[in-house]
Amino acid sequence: MAEPFVHVENVAKRWNGQLGVENISLSIPRGSFVALLGPSGCGKSTTLRLLSGLELPDEGRIVIDGRDVTTAAPSERNLSMVFQSYALFPHLSVAENVVFGLKVRKVGAAERREKLTRALEITGLLGYEKRKPGELSGGQRQRVALARAIVANQPLCLMDEPLSNLDAKLRASVRKDIKKLQVDLGITVVYVTHDQTEAMSMADMVVLMKDGHIQQTGAPEDLYYKPVNTFVAEFVGAPPMALIGGKALPGFEQAATIGLRAENVRVAEPGKGRLNCQVTDCEFLGSETFIGLSHPSATGLTVSMPGLKQIPAGEKMEISFADEDLHFFDDTGRRLTQPA
């Protein structure tokens, strides 16, 4: 395999007494879309800021495009960045915002105009050049931030929750736009998000973090189908994977915890199920209804039923499932490859 485009080796960043990130190692191939995913406070933004050079690591090494940039200034790393708040300069017009970096880097006026037109064309902002950021809608501001990120043609683009200030409908469409942009321009994108839908749908590679440590790195389907531990299992997927104590299932006592996804659960006829549960709630989603179940030795048990179902809480329900759909974890939460 070719030399990775971005290589992070055992990077750590600590603040006085407060945990930053620890032992971060990443290899990002050129032209890929990497999502840093995790709950808030997990260190994903810190990781991005270490990549950008806005923070410097206490330990470890960062290599971008074959060059050691561990202590280099942000401007020397050939990257662009999209901030959560977009960080548009309120006193500059759209055009001035987009070419800000080119101007700082003393790019000639003719070249600047050409690149500006191209960037505005790609982001669909032609005709808005003279507006100030305050006169734009949230979605337009977001596109200005994108235009500013792509105008200089940097090979690496860092995005820090760029969609979190948009409403849900816009978010879905901008998600597609960003993905398309990344593919068309062939740039490498590192994308921070706490929204797993964003991570799973856009990324080639997802890095799931918790408490400053990387939990799992891999393709979205790996995280979904082969979670390496119970945290990943519970974080990825909606509804999250149910965890059942190994003792509750005859034949699997060796595994401390057994994971099971809602789509693999079937409602069984009375007397034929493998677990006896009680209905706790029904969540209607249109095409299906998620029915929450409770069982003394399981958490998060859910069964998905087609269409609208209204089952009163407290009603008894038996469920069954196939052995091959089960995930096994040991008592430290790590995945067991074999049902021991």
């Binding site: 942000p74 401007s75 960045m81 960080a87 006193h91 700082v104 500013r148």
Partner: protein
């Protein structure tokens, strides 16, 4: 009850306004009448411009105007440069002892400039700036109030803008010039208004440190013009006073709205 108290408030405000404006109104009235008509409050007396002619011929006013204009400009430029750099350092640069130094700067606010007049006089003389416009302006350039104001304004700038500029390749000066200074414009405007009006009216320090008509600002020129040894003619002095305050007064009336808004905006931030 509330209606009554509102009336009292309005009445009080009006009373204060009348007391405050009356010297100016009297000076205005006296400037356009002969001395005897002015002091006798002869309402039907004819208006005249003679006082202005006499006053204008009595002193090098044009020179004084130019001096004052230069003085406030030099002070303002010096203040902008120094308070911008110092405010930025206190707001955004980490250096050991920053808070301690900032407290020292703030302590300057507690010291009346008049207390330092002798020391300033000695210092300006040592620098060889005695009886120069630069010498008059020098002690006011490192204004603690200005530094504090700029620091607050710069602190209010979102850190993402600073970081975005850094990623785009700006150095410290680039960030200051392209991001912080434009965003602090309302603060600069408010500060400029305060600074100009203060130093246009400043009297004691220029009186001490200037010695010749070439450097004297309007206030000092006016006081010499109106000094008892030159004979007191209330109408002529009023005319001279009107000339001195006119530019600032007219500027205030014209920019009244911006003046008030600048303060509001600088405060809201």
């Amino acid at each position: 009850m509330s209606a009554l108290s509102r009336h009292i408030e309005t009445l009080g405000a009006l009373l204060l306004a009348v007391i405050w404006i009356s010297p100016l109104v009297f000076a205005f009235w006296a400037a356009f009448h002969t001395t005897s008509d002015a002091v006798n409050f002869n309402v039907a007396a004819p208006w005249t411009l003679d006082n202005f002619r006499t006053a204008w011929a009595g002193a090098p006013w044009l020179r004084y105007f130019v001096n004052t204009f230069f003085l406030v400009t030099v002070i303002l430029i010096g203040q902008f440069v120094i308070t911008t750099l110092a405010g930025f350092a206190f707001a955004k640069v980490q250096f050991p002892g920053r808070d301690f130094v900032f407290i020292l700067v703030l302590m300057q606010l507690f010291i009346l400039p008049e207390v330092l007049i002798v020391e300033n006089y000695a210092m300006v003389s040592r620098l060889g700036l005695f009886d120069t416009i630069l010498g008059v302006g020098m002690p006011y350039m490192a204004s603690a109030f200005g530094i504090f104001l700029m620091r607050q304004a710069f602190k209010g700038v979102p850190i993402e803008l600073h970081e975005a500029a850094r990623v785009e390749g700006c150095g410290w000066f680039g960030i200051l010039w392209r991001v912080y200074v434009p965003l602090a414009r309302p603060t600069y405007l408010a500060y400029a208004l305060v600074s100009v009006s203060t130093h246009w009216n400043n009297f004691l320090w220029p009186l001490i440190v200037t010695n010749s008509p070439d450097t004297r600002p309007l206030t000092v020129g006016l006081s010499i013009f109106g000094a008892p040894e030159n004979g007191v003619d209330i109408s002529v002095i009023s005319a001279a006073t009107m000339m001195s305050v006119a530019p600032l007064l007219i500027a205030f009336l014209v920019f009244q709205r911006q003046f008030v808004q600048a303060f509001l905006r600088a405060g809201i931030k």
